[in-house]
C-alpha cells in the first residue's frame, strides 16, 4: 500500500519538499517534477536534509524537467533515480495512490 508523492516546487523557495518528506511512510516514493527537480541536486545546502529525510523512501526525479533547466544528470544526488514521463506513468499505476504536494 505505497503512495507516490509528487513535488513540483523548488525547495529553495518553499517548504513543500521538506513537508512532503516529513509525512511520507517507509516504502513510499517521491517524484520531483517541474521546479521540484532542483531538490534532486547534490552539493546544495539542502542536499543533506533531503537525503536524511528521504532515507526511508525511494527518491525519483523527472528527466525531462532536469533537461529543461540545464541540470546535467551528473548533478543529481546519489540515491535519487532519474526517470522519464513513461516511468512517471508506470509509477502512478504501480503505486496505490498519488498525492500531489502543491
Amino acid at each position: 500500500m505505497a503512495t507516490l508523492h509528487t513535488v513540483n516546487k523548488s525547495p529553495f523557495q518553499t517548504q513543500t519538499l521538506l513537508s512532503c518528506l516529513s509525512h511520507v511512510q517507509a516504502g513510499d516514493s517521491v517524484l520531483m517534477i517541474e521546479d521540484g527537480v532542483y531538490g534532486a541536486m547534490g552539493s546544495t545546502t539542502l542536499a543533506d536534509a533531503v537525503a536524511g529525510l528521504g532515507g526511508q523512501v525511494n527518491l525519483f526525479v523527472l528527466g525531462e524537467d532536469l533537461a529543461a533547466r540545464g541540470i546535467d544528470a551528473g548533478r543529481v544526488a546519489d540515491g535519487i533515480t532519474k526517470i522519464d514521463m513513461d516511468g512517471f506513468v508506470d509509477m502512478v499505476a504501480s503505486t496505490d495512490r498519488t498525492q500531489s504536494w502543491l
Partner: protein
C-alpha cells in the same frame, strides 16, 4: 465498506485569502459530501490558518468563507485533522481555531468537536490510508 465507497482526503496546506485555494477546496468538499463517500480533511502547514477564529474580511473586501467550516457537520463532514506541529510552529493552539461541532448519530446526536489535533506522524498515516487524495 462497500465497493462503491472510497476514502477521500482533502489536503489543505495553504493560508486563506492570499490565494483562492482554501475557498475553492471547501466548495469541492461541500459538493463531494453529496456522494456518500468517506470524507476526511487534513490541515497542515499554512492550512491551519484557514481555521482561525474571528476572521473579518470587511477591510480587504473579500468574502469571508470561514463560517462555512462550521456548517460542515450538517454535510456529514466530521473529521478535520489538524497537525499539532503546524500549530506549534505558528504559535497557535486549539483555542485560536473555530469551535467546529457535529452531532454524532451513533451517540444519541451528542455534539462533538470535528477538529482532531494529530501529530505529524499520525498525519502521515492518515494520508497513507486513503483511496483518493485531493490537494489544495
Amino acid at each position: 465498506m462497500s465497493e462503491d465507497v472510497k476514502k477521500f482526503l482533502y489536503v489543505n496546506r495553504k493560508a486563506p485569502y492570499g490565494t483562492i485555494y482554501a475557498q475553492e477546496s471547501l466548495e469541492v468538499v461541500l459538493i463531494g459530501a453529496a456522494f456518500d463517500q468517506d470524507v476526511e480533511m487534513a490541515f497542515l502547514d499554512d492550512g491551519v490558518f484557514q481555521l482561525t477564529k474571528n476572521q473579518d474580511t470587511k477591510g480587504v473586501g473579500l468574502k469571508n468563507f470561514s463560517p462555512t467550516f462550521r456548517a460542515l457537520g450538517d454535510y456529514e463532514v466530521t473529521k478535520l485533522y489538524v497537525e499539532q506541529e503546524s500549530l506549534d510552529e505558528r504559535g497557535l493552539t486549539l483555542d485560536d481555531l473555530q469551535d467546529i461541532q457535529y452531532e454524532d448519530e451513533d451517540d444519541d446526536w451528542a455534539e462533538k468537536p470535528s477538529i482532531r489535533v494529530v501529530s505529524r506522524a499520525e498525519m502521515g498515516k492518515i494520508m497513507a490510508n486513503q483511496d483518493v487524495v485531493l490537494s489544495f
